[in-house]
Amino acid sequence: MARTWGRAPLRRGVRVARALLLSQYAYMLEYRAEIALWALSGVLPLIMLGVWQGSGAAAAAGITAQGVARYFLAAFVVRQFTVVWLIHVFEEDALQGKLAPQLLQPLHPLWRYLAAHVAEQATRVPFVALMLVVVLAVQPDAIAWQAPWRLLLGLLAIAAAFVLRFILQTILTMACFWSERAAALDRLMLIPYLFLSGLVAPLSTFPPAMRELAAATPFPSMVAFPAALLAGEPVAIGAGFATTAAWCALLLPIALLLWRAGIRRYAAMGA
């Protein structure tokens, strides 16, 4: 062990990441039936697409029918690849003491959970692709063909949104160290996420005051910004990425501080 540690830390990092991702991917493939169901459960933006298309509200806000379709389809993709379920797994692990052996390993346990999320997203890809094909068969104009660089930026924005959501949920998850039912907190966080992120309504249909309120929260960075980018809407790309990065920079230290405080009072079952 000690000898491999002596090597360049970068190489160790690559090796660890590879091992983690591959093992987690194999694990997730075992549960692909479940993940298919999870992918199916992300249909909310498509349902909202149906509602918004049937209503004159989008046109009143100056969005074309095609714009609505593109936005919600993009929001659907963003939602699929930014799902975070850390708190539910962590709650169980902390309660049942499965966290203890992880703490003995020379690796921050959060990396393992992060790798599990990334592996789960990789498992999702075929199911999401299948659902996209179905939607596009019904509505061929719902996809916005993009220049490759813009598509790449869109994917980057999804990744950034995922990281932001992961950090935010890490903060909530740390409540597991103090409470047995911390996962209930996620239910609360889901509410502003649902209504302020642009998942159920494009932010441009909001009244100005509500739009400002939403813009003051991290939630639009999680859906509205990457979705607008993918849908080919005119959007301030630099400012969008800067906002996401700023929120990450603000929340990450809080998460790490809480982790340290929590781990100090962690006593697994029977300890």
Partner: protein
């Protein structure tokens, strides 16, 4: 004999719910969380609804007040889910995974009954109360004054509405149970039942708000229409006999299906260690 069995199930139910309530009340903080969640969700739903309405628009031919009845029914059924369906049926997966389903099957009581009623959670109550309030408010606004002076008309509306709401609850239960029993094969459909919760969100809006293709899906494949739209129409006094009959038939069919499917699933059950 039949009466004795009925009494047995009744007394079991009392014991089940007594102990489940005692366990849940160990976490009084949950009440606050649930209350905030219900109020927040309601505020958000009303906000989105107000975006869709506004400037004299309507949604699929439904007035604002009528749409509130639909939203109220959705909230009510969501509360029913939190009270009874979620605490019980999301555990089936766990029983299959850990093998404790064996112990359930050994009990001298119907396994579907045990699995469906063993737990109860009081945390769905805020949603039920808020949902009923919303239904009442929407009905009071949407019903013409002259109808209130005809007790017969009001009574028949409420009766039919209640009847169709029970059918909706039966459909909802059957869907949950069907999905949960899939775990016999897939073992880890961890929280697969949550999928239903997310797709049934479509029931927040009257089914005529959707494009025709989706309307068909929400009636035949995923019977969202029967959950909220049909009972709401009955309460508003514009029920069509065809839809009402369809709703009752769907309830009977899905209940029978959940029963038959469970018995079929049990034949494929091979315990955890085998």
């Amino acid at each position: 004999m039949a009466r004795e069995r009925l009494r047995l199930y009744g007394s079991c139910l009392r014991r089940f719910w007594g102990s489940a309530l005692a366990a849940e009340l160990e976490y009084p903080g949950n009440a606050l969380v649930e209350l905030i969640a219900v109020i927040g969700n309601l505020a958000g739903s009303l906000f989105v609804l107000s975006l869709l309405y506004g400037h004299g628009r309507d949604l699929g031919g439904w007035s604002w007040d009528a749409a509130l009845v639909v939203l109220g029914l959705y909230t009510l059924l969501d509360g029913f889910t939190s009270c009874l369906l979620q605490p019980n049926l999301s555990r089936i997966v766990q029983h299959v995974q850990t093998g404790s389903l064996d112990f359930v099957l050994l009990k001298p009581i119907d396994s579907q009954f045990w699995l469906s009623t063993r737990q109860i959670s009081p945390w769905g109550l805020p949603a039920i109360v808020v949902g009923m309030g919303l239904i009442g408010w929407g009905l009071a606004q949407a019903t013409p004054v002259m109808v209130w002076s005809q007790p017969w008309a009001v009574g028949s509306r409420l009766l039919l509405g209640l009847c169709l709401l029970s059918a909706a609850a039966a459909i909802l239960y059957s869907l949950w149970f069907l999905l949960a029993s899939l775990s016999i094969w897939f073992v880890k459909v961890w929280n697969a039942t949550e999928v239903l919760r997310y797709t049934l969100v479509a029931g927040r809006y009257p089914v005529s708000a959707y494009p025709p293709g989706l309307r068909l899906v929400f009636t035949l494949v995923l019977p969202v229409a029967f959950l909220t739209t049909v009972p709401a129409e009955a309460l508003l006094g514009r029920a069509s006999p065809l839809w009402a009959a369809g709703s009752l038939m769907a309830a009977a069919l899905t209940l029978w299906l959940s029963r038959a499917f469970w018995q079929h699933a049990l034949r494929h059950y091979t315990s955890a260690s085998s």
